[in-house]
């Protein structure tokens, strides 16, 4: 497809989704949302997909919402941004965080606004050393959406979250790494290979168990220790019934590398 705004490529269990509007720094419009949603449906339904890798085409990762679609003149009625959040951004973040498979994000350049939130909503984030993160909402009188206001304080702490959200400064990849917001920074020309290698490794791992880990970690945000202990019991019960658990244990005793099916 020539005009695909999301490129999809499935290989060795890794579904790579490339945001593909390089001339607009991969900013979102409605059509791109629709294509991304279709790609996510594939990731959700296809058992062959055991890891999702999200990256951007060209020099940016994602500049958030395309403001060309948001130009409001004085005569016009104010647009309902809540509707767009409800229809596109919220389902996207919900689907990524509840996808029972690992999601890797390779941030190849600027990640601004909802683009930054999208990256931070992924399970493992690797950034190129020339990438940066901008909470640009405050410059337009808006609020960090797409989970931004949830992820920021959890990843960076209250003070840094407030600073980022209210000042809208450009934060370098190195800085986000130092603050513990992302997993790794690599040289720009190594980003693609490093992230592919990592995603391919994850795709050979016990996918079902990784899905349970994701659930446990996300649930911890609104559980007390007591509730979380109960949840861990339940998830461990499920993990213990998986094929991969058997395989893992028998490989351990046979001193051979395990061969996980993801079930």
């Amino acid at each position: 497809m020539d005009n695909a705004l999301i490129l999809t490529h499935l290989e060795a269990g890794v579904l790579t989704l490339t945001l593909n509007r390089p001339d607009r720094l991969n900013s979102f419009n409605d059509e791109m949302h629709r294509q991304l949603s279709e790609a996510l449906t594939l990731a959700e339904r296809d058992d062959k997909v055991r890891c999702l890798l999200i990256t951007g085409a060209g020099r940016g990762f994602c500049a958030g919402q395309d403001l060309n679609d948001r130009n409001v003149s004085v005569e016009q009625q104010a647009p309902d941004l809540g509707l767009s959040v409800e229809r596109f951004y919220n389902p996207l973040i919900r689907r990524l965080t509840t996808l029972p498979k690992p999601v890797v994000c390779a941030v190849n350049g600027v990640a601004a606004g909802a683009g930054a939130a999208l990256a931070l909503a992924c399970d493992i984030v690797i950034a190129a050393d020339n990438a940066n993160f901008i909470q640009s909402f405050c410059r337009l009188g808006l609020v960090p959406d797409s989970g931004g206001s949830w992820f920021l304080p959890r990843l960076a702490g209250h003070a840094r979250a407030m600073g980022m959200a209210m000042l809208g400064d450009k934060i370098s990849a190195q800085q986000t790494l130092a603050w513990g917001m992302i997993w790794q920074v690599v040289a720009a020309d190594e980003l693609a290979s490093t992230s592919q290698t990592l995603a391919q490794h994850l795709a050979t791992q016990p996918t079902y168990g990784l899905g349970l880990i994701k659930k446990a970690l996300y649930s911890s945000a609104n559980n007390t220790l007591d509730q979380q202990l109960d949840l861990e019991r339940d998830l461990q019960r499920l993990g213990g019934r998986s094929d991969d658990y058997r395989e893992g244990v028998s490989a351990f005793f046979a001193k051979r590398p395990p061969s996980f099916s993801g079930k």
């Binding site: 659930k215 949840l231 339940d234 998830l235 019960r237 499920l238």
Partner: protein, 257 residues
């Protein structure tokens, strides 16, 4: 019997009935309701059964009544409909009835859950009465049972907007008693049912009747009924067995007498 729309499974004293109309998202059409009532009445008469669990599929508990049936129904047909008497017979089931809900419990599906004594649901569960959006209203206890467990404002909001609520809201409102991980909903419900099924049958029956009376009567009359049920148990062998087993630190062996 014609094609089974409900699968029956028994483990020790617990019967699990699984709604099985996947092509219709487990919509409760009349044949389905008939089979359910038939199976419940059998379980009621079977002394080998202590409790019954009703469940559906992973994504749907039951997505309402059958709209095709309703579409064809005119006023005379509505007046002579068999469904209300089926629902009544279902409500008369005298043993503990549990619902294990994953996914959508809408319309009649929600009303079925409401008719159960205990509802356990998974995190994916959604409860709603969307009848109003079709120019209808709940017709199988929805307006009555819901308001008694969740209170006026929330019940009215659900009935009048037709919007569903999440598992977490349902727990908070008292519509369900536990929320668990989806993959364990049925197992957890069966665990509770099993525990119940090991109790003295006559005591369960009396306790359930007393609980149901709470919705029918005022407090003083309810207390009188409770007392009456309590006293009738005094004459049972199982009561002596239960108390004796407690003192002798052993598991009671109930006979249902």
């Amino acid at each position: 019997m014609e094609t089974p729309l409900i699968l029956r499974q028994q483990h020790q004293r617990v019967v699990t009935l699984t709604l099985h109309r996947p092509e219709a998202r487990n919509a409760l059409n009349t044949p389905c309701l008939e089979q359910l009532v038939y199976l419940l009445e059998h379980a009621d008469a079977d002394t080998g059964v202590g409790a019954v669990v009703i469940t559906g599929a992973a994504r749907f508990f039951a997505a309402g009544a059958d709209l095709h049936e309703l579409q064809q129904q005119d006023l005379p047909a509505a007046l002579t409909d068999r469904r209300p008497s089926l629902w009544q017979r279902l409500a008369q089931f005298s043993k503990p009835l549990l619902a294990a809900v994953n996914g959508y419990a809408l319309g009649a599906g929600c009303e079925l859950a409401l008719a159960c004594d205990i509802v356990i649901c998974g995190e994916s569960a959604r409860f709603g009465l969307p009848e109003i959006t079709l120019g209808l209203m709940p017709g199988a206890g929805g307006t009555q049972r819901l308001i008694r467990c969740v209170g006026k404002s929330r019940a009215s909001q659900m009935v009048l907007t037709g919007e569903a609520i999440t598992a977490a809201s349902a727990l908070q409102a008292g519509l369900v008693s536990e929320v668990c991980v989806d993959a364990l909903t049925l197992e957890r419900t069966q665990q509770i049912a099993e525990r119940i099924s090991l109790q003295a049958p006559l005591a369960l029956r009396a306790a359930k009747q007393a609980l149901k009376q709470a919705e029918e009567t005022g407090l003083s009359q309810g207390l009188a009924i409770e007392r009456q049920q309590f006293v009738t148990l005094a004459a049972t062998d199982d009561r002596r067995e239960g108390i004796a087993a407690f003192f002798e630190k052993r598991t009671p062996n109930y006979q249902g007498r």
